[in-house]
């Protein structure tokens, strides 16, 4: 274990403890008094039709897919950004070729209308 990560672990434990404690405390202080009307789904007073878990448009999928690909690209950019000064022109061109290919894909997606909601 890396010593510099000990505070992260401690903070995570304290944060989990904090949220568990406050939620538990609020449950104790505000006693739940359920009744069917109170526990019904909030839909502006109208009884809901069917379940909420309906199908969603495919646009969400596509936006997320493009996000993942650019995210992977960004994940490559970070280590590159650390050393690109030492790599010099070679590293710049190397990443340039990488980005150019991705940029082509991005332009294609743009032209096809992937970003028009």
């Amino acid at each position: 274990m890396l010593p510099s990560y000990v505070p992260v672990l401690i903070l995570a434990l304290v944060a989990i403890g904090f949220s568990a404690f406050t939620l538990g405390l609020s449950q104790l202080l505000g006693k739940p008094r359920p009744n069917p009307a109170k526990n019904s789904v909030y839909e502006c007073g109208v009884p809901p039709i069917g379940t909420a878990r309906e199908r969603f448009p495919i646009k969400f999928y596509m936006i997320c897919m493009i996000f993942i690909l650019l995210d992977v690209d960004a994940a490559f950019l970070y280590p590159w950004a650390l050393v690109f000064r030492d790599l010099g022109v070679f590293g710049f061109l190397e990443m340039g070729a990488f980005m150019l290919l991705l940029g082509g894909g991005f332009t294609y997606a743009w032209k096809v209308g992937a970003f028009d909601w």
Binding site: M1, L2, Y5, L9, R53, E54, R55, F56, P57, I58, K59, F60, Y61, M62, C64, M65, I66, F67, I68, L69, D71, V72, D73, A75, F76, P79, W80, L82, V83, F84, D86, L87, F90, G91, E94, M95, A97, F98, M99, L101, L102, G104, G105, F106, Y108, A109, V112, G113, A114, D116
Partner: protein, 162 residues
């Protein structure tokens, strides 16, 4: 000492949540517990002294790919599995699991897993220098073609709707 305890804690999290992923009938539950698997895996990477890979695991898998999985579940609206498990498939799965266990065990026996260098910390800069050296130039550029094809594929698949 504390390393070992933490390792076993996170390993237990990984295994249990992975079992929940496979055993759960509700696909959304499976997806959420897969996030737990990824996060505890990331903690194990951190314990192994590679914080960059650990953060990458969270960003790409837990933060991005799992959101995609959830979006796809919402898109397809998969309800709980209703089919009864098929015996033949279960048998085949058992054989595969057995083979996998044998393979992992043989690999573990060969490798010197019990003598990892203590306090090892992978240098992110060192990793970057290796990755962007001319040695991995071809592989690195090939990755971009892989990403490009995935991007075009996703757009083409969804295009009918646009």
């Amino acid at each position: 000492m504390i390393d070992v305890i933490l390792f076993y804690v996170f390993a237990a999290f990984t295994l249990v949540s992975a079992l929940v992923v496979a055993g759960q009938r509700n696909p959304t539950y499976s997806a959420f517990s897969l996030i737990v698997t990824f996060c505890s895996l990331s903690a194990i990477y951190g314990l192994l002294g590679s914080p960059f890979i650990a953060a990458l695991q969270v960003i790409v898998y837990a933060g991005a790919i799992m959101v995609l999985f959830l979006f796809v579940l919402m898109l397809l609206n998969v309800k709980e599995e209703s089919e009864a498990p098929r015996k033949a498939l279960a048998g085949a799965g058992g054989v595969l699991v057995l083979l996998f266990v044998v393979q992992v065990a043989s690999a573990l026996l060969k490798a010197d897993v019990f003598h990892a260098p203590p306090g090892y910390e992978a240098s992110t800069v060192g990793m970057a220098q290796l990755l962007f050296s001319s040695r991995f130039l071809y592989v690195f550029e090939a990755t971009s073609i892989l990403i490009l094809s995935a991007l075009v594929g996703a757009v083409v698949l969804a295009k009918k709707d646009l």
